[in-house]
Symmetry: D3
Subunit: 332 residues, 6 copies
C-alpha cells in the first residue's frame, strides 16, 4: 500500500510515450513482469521481460544476460535501452537494468488511479459519517475510519482486481458515490433508515482491504481467494463491535446482514438474500453504481479504439451485450 | 374506466363491517361474482353468489331462486338480507337483489385505490413534463397527456393485476414515484439525459392502459394476454410519433428501446436488453420502486395477520424469501 | 436447551395413544400451539388450541373460555378432557388446563430425539479429537468442546429445522457419522490431511447452535435468518482462534474455507466453492450423510403410511424423485 | 439493396481462384475492409487492406502508399497486383487500386446468395397468398407484397447476419420453405387455420428488412440492435392494417401474437409465449427449418474441410453438439 | 391388457349418468379404489370406497361392513345402492357388492380409450411398414409387429400415464399420427431417409409397453420407474436385431440413436442429443404431436368447465401458460 | 489394444529428451499425426507432420517429399533427422521415414498409462468379486471377467478421452479405487447391500470398452458418440444376464438402474436419477473419485508449469475454479 501522495519525483517517461522514441535511446522506471531467461542459438542465454506502468506494457530483451542485475517480477526497475520495432511491434533492447530505490518513484505512476482527489473524497466520507444521528452506527464507522491501518488502506484500495473501479482509490470513489445515492434515495423512501443504509455503503466492501493486494499490480490474497471479502468484512465488523460498549445485538445482526446480502443473489456469492428494506435497496444501488462505471469505462475504451461516438461498442462481456453511448448519438 | 370522482353517493356498508351485524338485516351495494344456481334436495334451485367490495368478499345464498333478478358477474347490485354464520363463517341469506343504477354508486368503493390524491399526482406528472428542455420529448409526452382518452385512463389505471401497485391510480402513483427517482439520479450521474430518462418513466408501462381492464375487478384483456403491454406501448408511441412533426429518427429508436428493455431481462419478457445508460439506469429504478412497494404491502399484510412488528413475515412468493421490517426491529 | 436427561418423570400419555381412549376422559402433558379464542353463536367465546408432543398433534376445544388459565404458545400445559370424534377426526373437549411446572416433564418427550445415546456419541467425538496429531487443530477443537455453553448446546442441537437429522441430538449424530467417514476416506486418499478433514466434520455446522432454537419446537433465530449458520460459524471460529496462542495464519484460512465452502455451491448458500482437496472431499461426505439419513426417514415414513417394503415411496420433495428401499425388494 | 439481377458483367476472378495464380499478376474487383496505413522502418507508410468477395478473403499490401486512391471500407475496388506467399499464406502485393464504377460489377458476386431462382421463389410466395380464402389476411399480405419498397427488399434480404440462410435471398428461401411445411401440416391437423398459419410464415421475420443491412456485407442497423426485428415487424403490420378497411380487431391481435411469439421462449427474445395452436405449431416449423438448413451448411463445411462423409463433424456451436450426415454413413 | 373388442356386454350405467338417478336405486359395474374400513361412533365399522369408470368417479359408503364381499382396489365389482346427496355432493349408499366375473364387462368401459378404430390404425401402421424400401428396417419392424405379444400390447397401450394420449390405444394413435407427419416432412426435406425416420416413429416409445401397466388404471411398472422406456426400448430393439440376419452395424447404431435422442434434451431424460438429421427432425415431430394433442385436451376440458369458446383457458401446467382456441375466437 | 506387456523393446528416445539433442542427428519411434503435403515456392512439395509419444509432441518437416514412405496418421513410424530450432521452437528436419514393424515397439510408450501394475489391480478386482456372497451378482461379474475379449479390453481401457484417468489402465485403476471406497462405506452404512454396490463399481463404465478406442491415441467410436457408454453398458449387461440361469428379474432391474443413474443428473447424461440407496451412494463415490484424480492431475500440471506448491493453480475448467494443494501450503 502507498502512503501519502505528492512527495515523489515525477515519472518522466511512460509506455505510451515510446512511439515517439522509435530508434532512440530511452531511460525510465517501469515494473517488471514475466521475467524469463531463454536460450540463444549459441547456447548462451538472453533475458526476456515485460515492462509496464499505468499507461501500458512493452516486451523487452537484454541480449547479454550476464549484465542482468538482481530483481524479481513486481519490482520497479530503472532501465536504459534502444526502442526498436520487431515484427511490427515496438520493443526495447535493454542495455542496463537496476533495482529502483524506494524514494525514486511514486507507486501511483505504475498502476491506474482515480482521477478524483483522495483527500476530498476522504473528507466527503467523514462528513457523511459525522451527519449520523444513530450513535451506535456512528461509533462503529468511526472505529473503522479512526483505525490508522484501515484508513491508510481504505484511501488507496481498488474496488476490484479487473472490473469496475479497478484503480487506486477506486473503493473510496465507489463508497462516496454510493453515499450520495443513499442520501437521495433515503429521502425518497421515508421508511428507509438512512444511517443504516449509509453504513452498508461504507462497510459492504471493507473486506476488500484484505481480499486484494495492490502494490505494483492488483491481485487476490490467499485469504481473498479462500475466504472472500464478504466473510472477511463480517469478521472485521464483528471484531470492531466487540470493542464497542453496548452495541445493540439486533443492530449488529442488521449490519452483518447488509454485508452478507449485498451481492443480492446466491450465485453472486451472497450467502443471504436481502431481507430488510435497506438491504434490498442497497443491493440495487451497489449494482447500479458498478454498472454505470462499467459503461463509462467501455465508452472510453471504444473511443480509444477509434469507434465513432454514435456507434455501438463491441460485445461487452461483463454485461453480455454491446452498448451505445446516448450522448454520442443524440449529438449527431 | 371511471370518470371524475367525488360526485357519487357514499357507500354505507362495507364487507368488513358485517361482523357487527351478525343476525341482523342489512342493505348495501356490492359487486357480484361466481354466480351459480344449485339444486336443492327437493329439486328446486337456489342461488349461490359471492359479493365483494374493496374491503373483502362474502358468500351468499338466496333460497328462492325465482326471486333472483337479472344480473351478471361483475355487476354492482343492491341486496337486502340476513347476516348469519354457517360452519364458523359469516354469510348473507339474501331476500332481495336488484341491479344498481349507474348513479347509485362510486366504482372506487368496489376496488382498492391509491391513498394519494389523483389530482395532485396528475399535477406533479405534468409539472415534470413542463420542465423538459428537449422539445421533441416534451411534445411526445404532451401528445399523450393531452389525449383525453389516454389521460382519463392514465389517472385511474392500476399498475398490475395482482402484484405491486394493484389499485386504482396505482400506475400514476408508480410513474410519479419514478419521476422523483429520475430527478435525483440524473443529477448524480451527469452523463444521463434527464428528459430521456423521465420519458421512460412516463411511457414504459403506457401499454397497460390496454393490457388491463379495471371495472369492478382487475383483469387482462385479450390484447394484454396475446400482445402484452410492452408491444402495445411500442405501438402507441409509434402512433403518436407519426403524428408529430420532425421527431428525430434516432430519438424515436431510443424511446422505443427504453420501453422494450425496461424489464431488463429476456426471461422477464423484455425482447431487448438495456443497451444505453438511460435504459440500464431506468431498469434498476423501475424494479426498485416495485420492490419497495411490495415490501410495504407485505409488512401491512403481516401486521394485519397479527405478526409482531419485529417478526419476520411468512415466505413472500414474489421475492422468494421472508422479509423483516427494520423499523419494527429497531424500535424494540 | 435441555440439560441432563433421565431425571424427569415419564410421560404417561402420547398423542398416538389417544385412539385407544375415544369417548374417555384423559389427563396428560402437551405443548400448546395455535391458541385462539373464537366466537360462539351466543357471542360468548371458546378456546381453540392444538396440543402436541413428539408423536403428533391434535385439535382441541375448551367451550367455557372463562376457565382457560394463563399460557402461551410453546408452553407445556397439563390438560384434562374427553376424547371424541368430530367430522371423522379425533379431538379433545378440554375441562381443565394449567401450566406445567418445570420439574413435571422432560422436554425430550415433546420433540423428536436421537435414538442413539448422547453420552456415547459425545465420547466418540472426544475420542476422535484426542487422536489428532496436529496440535493447533486439536487445541481449536478442545476450545470448543471444553466451552461448557457450547458443549451443552452441541449435545442437544438438531441438525436442521425440518430436513435430515431434525431431532434433539441430531447435529451430534451427524458429526459423529461424518467423523467415521472421514477416518475411512482419509485412509483411502493419502493426500488428504486427516485432522483438517475431521476439523471440518466437527465445525462445519457449529453455527447452527445459534441459527436454530430448540425448545418445545425447532425454529430459526433472528440471527439464523439474517446471518446464517455458515457466517455465524466463521465468527465463532475466528473468536476461538483469537484466544489461542500462535494458531498459524494459513491454517486459520483453511479452516474458515472448509466452513464457508461446505455446501459446495453458491446456490446452496456457500459463498466460496471448495478449492482444496479436503473441502472437495468434505462437501461430498456431508451431502452424502444427509442424503442417507433422508432416505432412512423416507422409508420409515412410507412404512408408517402402509406402503409395502417393495413399493416405491411417494414423491420425495427434498430429493425431487420417488425412492425405493432395496432391502425390501431383494427380500421378496 | 440490389436492384434487378442479370444486367451486370460477370466477375472474372474470385478469391478461391488465386491459388492458381501464385507468382502471377492478377486484376479483379473486390470489396475492401480493414483498410489501414502502417509505418515502415524508414518511417514512410504502406497500405494494409483485406479484399473479399463471396468466396473468401485475402490480406493485401500496397507498399507505395502515395499511389493509394480514395476509397473506404465496404467499397468495391478494382485492383492489380502480384499474388505471392508470405509466412505460408497467400497475399497480393498491389500495384494499382481504383474505385469501381456502379455499372462495373454485380453486388451479388461479393456476398453469398441463394442457389435458387429469386423469381421462382417470388412466384411461389405469391401463389400461396393467392390461394388464401380469408380475405382479410389475403389483403394484408398483398399490402406487403404490392409495396414496391418492401417487395424489393424482401426479394434480396438475408434471413440472418451469420447463422442459417445468411445469404442474399435467404429470407425469401426460408419463407417459401415454411409455406410448404405450413401447407402439409395444416392438412395433418384440421384444427389449424391454414391461412393464419401461412400469414405467420410470410410476416414473422418481416422486421428483418429493417433489422439488417445487406450491401457488400451483412450487418445490423441501429434500429435492428435497439428495437429488433420482432418489434419492427409488429410496427410494420400495425401500419399496414391501419390502412386496410375493417380488418377485424381479433384477427389483428392473432397476427401480432404470431409474430411476437415465434421465437417460442422468452430467453430467445419472444416477449410472448405461443398461446394459440397456430403459434405453437409455427414455432416448431420455424425452428425446424432453421435447424435443417444449419445441418446442410455444417455438412457442406465439413466436406469442404476434408472430412469423410461418414465422419462426425467438429463441434457445431449453434447446436452445441457434433453432427453426422446419415447419407454419408448409410452409403458406406 | 384387453383382447379383441365388441364381444363384451354393453355397460348400462356410467358415473356421468348418476345425476339423473338422485334418490333412486341403481345397479352397475365399476372399478374400486381407495377401499377403507372406518369406525362408526358405536365402534362398529363401515366401508368407504371410490367407484370409477372411464367417465368419472364417485365416493360410496356401505354402512353394514359385514356384508362387504371380498375384493381389492383395481377390481371391477358389481354394486347396488341408493344415489343420494351428502354435503352438496352425490354419493351411493351401497346395499350389495360382488366381484364381477371376467366375461361380464369390457375393460374398455373403465378406462379412457381412443375415439379412433384400433383396427383401422393398426392397418394404417402396417401399410406404412409395407411401403418401406429399406429391407433391413422393414424386417426389423415386421419382427415387432409380427410378435403376437408385442402386437397385442401395442394395439392397446396408452402413450402416457397422465399427459398426452393417456388412453387405451393412445400409443398407436400417436404413432400413426407421427407416421403421417413423417411422410409429409420426408418429402419436404429430400436429405431425410424416409424409412429411417418412420422407424423412429414406430419404435421410439416401444419401451412404454413395459414401462406402463394399463389394467383398470394406468401406472408405472417397477422396470418403468427404475429403467425407463428409452432404455427398455433400446434393449427390445437390440434383442430383435440379434435375431435378424445381417442387420448392418451402422444402421443398428442409427436406430438406437433415434430412440435414445428422441426427447431432445438431457433434462428430458434423453442420454444423447439428436446428432443426425432424422433425429433432429423426429424430435420436433414427436414434441409437436404431443403438444397438439395436449391443446385439444385442454380446449375440451375448458369447454366442459363452461368456458366460452373465445375465452383463454386457465393456466395449463404442462405448457406453463394459458391457451386460446383460435377457432372459437375467429367465429365470434 | 495391446496384448501382454514386457515383451517389447525399450523405447530409446522420448520427445522430452529432444532438448538435449539440439543440432544433432536423432533416430527414434513416434506416432504420426496431422500429416500434410504443402507447396514450396518452387511449386515442389514438402511434408509437414507431427510426431508424438506419451511424453509430448513435436512439429517436423521433410523437405524432399519424394522420399516420404507410405504411412497414415496414427501409425508408429521410425524416423531419422536433425533437431533444430525454428522461431524459438524445436523441430526435426527429417531425412528418413519408414513404417515401424509390429514387433519393434511397445504401444504403451506412445500413450500415457497408469503408474500402477495392471496385474496387481486385476488381481485386486478379482479378489473383490470372489468375496461376494450374492451368487447371482458373483456369477454376473465372473461372466464379464472370464470373457477373454472383455478382460483384455478392461485391463487396458482408459476411463476417459481427456478428463480424469485418461490413460491406459485408467478404467481399471478407477474401478479398483471405487471398490475400496465401496468396502469402506458399505460398512459405515449397514443398510447398503455391499455386493450390489460393488457390482456398480465394476460395471458402471463397462460400456466404455466400446465407447472409446485406444490405439495410438484415445478417441470416441461411432457407437460411443451416438449411443454412449451408459446405453452400451446396459446392453452388455442385458446380454450377459440372458446367458445366466435364473438371474432374478428384480435384481436385473436394480443392476441396470445403477448403471443408468450413475451420472446422478439428467444434464450429465443419466436418463434416470438414483432412486435406491446404493445408487445414491455410488453416484457420490464415482464423482468423488473422479474429482480426487482431477485434483492430483491439476497439482502435477501446476508443478510442472513452475508454480510454487503453496500457490493456487490457474483456473481449472473441469471444476470451474482454481485449486490449492493443501499439502504445499501446510508445509511452508
Amino acid at each position: 500500500m502507498t502512503s501519502g501522495p505528492f512527495s515523489f519525483p515525477m515519472k518522466d517517461l511512460y509506455i505510451t510515450d515510446l512511439t515517439r522514441f522509435e530508434n532512440q535511446q530511452v531511460t525510465g522506471f517501469f515494473v517488471a513482469s514475466a521475467k524469463q531467461f531463454r536460450a540463444k542459438k549459441d547456447s548462451s542465454r538472453y533475458l526476456a521481460v515485460n515492462l509496464a506502468d499505468r499507461t501500458g506494457q512493452i516486451e523487452c530483451r537484454m541480449w547479454d544476460a550476464s549484465e542482468v542485475g538482481d530483481f524479481n517480477n513486481g519490482d520497479v526497475i530503472k532501465v536504459k535501452g534502444l526502442v526498436c520495432r520487431y515484427q511490427e511491434k515496438l520493443q526495447i533492447n535493454l542495455d542496463k537494468i537496476r533495482l529502483a530505490a524506494p524514494g525514486e518513484y511514486d507507486l501511483a505512476d505504475f498502476v491506474p488511479h482515480t482521477v478524483r482527489s483522495i483527500d476530498e473524497m476522504w473528507a466527503e466520507l467523514n462528513g457523511f459519517v459525522d451527519s449520523f444521528s444513530n450513535v451506535h452506527l456512528k461509533a462503529l464507522l468511526r472505529a473503522f475510519l479512526d483505525d490508522q491501518e484501515i484508513a491508510g488502506a481504505l484511501r488507496h484500495a481498488p474496488a476490484a482486481k479487473a472490473l469496475h473501479h479497478a484503480w487506486i482509490g477506486g473503493l473510496l470513489e465507489h463508497i462516496v458515490s454510493l453515499l450520495g445515492l443513499c442520501e437521495l434515495t433515503a429521502k425518497h423512501y421515508p421508511e428507509i433508515d438512512r444511517d443504516l443504509l449509509m453504513t452498508a455503503a461504507v462497510l459492504h466492501d471493507i473486506g476488500k482491504l484484505r481480499e486484494l493486494s495492490w502494490g505494483t499490480s492488483f491481485d487476490y490474497t490467499l485469504e481473498g481467494q479462500l475466504v472472500g471479502h464478504i466473510s472477511i468484512g463480517v469478521a472485521m465488523v464483528e471484531s470492531k463491535i466487540a470493542q464497542l460498549d453496548s452495541f445493540p445485538q439486533d443492530l449488529r445482526i442488521l449490519v452483518l446482514h447488509l454485508i452478507l446480502s449485498h451481492h443480492g443473489k446466491y450465485e453472486f456469492g451472497s450467502p443471504k438474500l436481502p431481507m430488510i428494506p435497506e438491504a434490498v435497496l442497497f443491493n440495487y444501488l451497489d449494482d447500479l453504481d458498478a454498472k454505470m462505471q462499467t459503461m463509462r469505462s467501455e465508452f472510453a475504451r471504444a473511443e480509444a479504439a477509434g469507434k465513432a461516438p454514435d456507434q455501438m461498442t463491441d460485445w461487452v462481456r461483463a454485461m453480455e451485450r454491446p452498448l451505445l453511448n446516448t450522448n454520442g448519438l443524440l449529438k449527431r
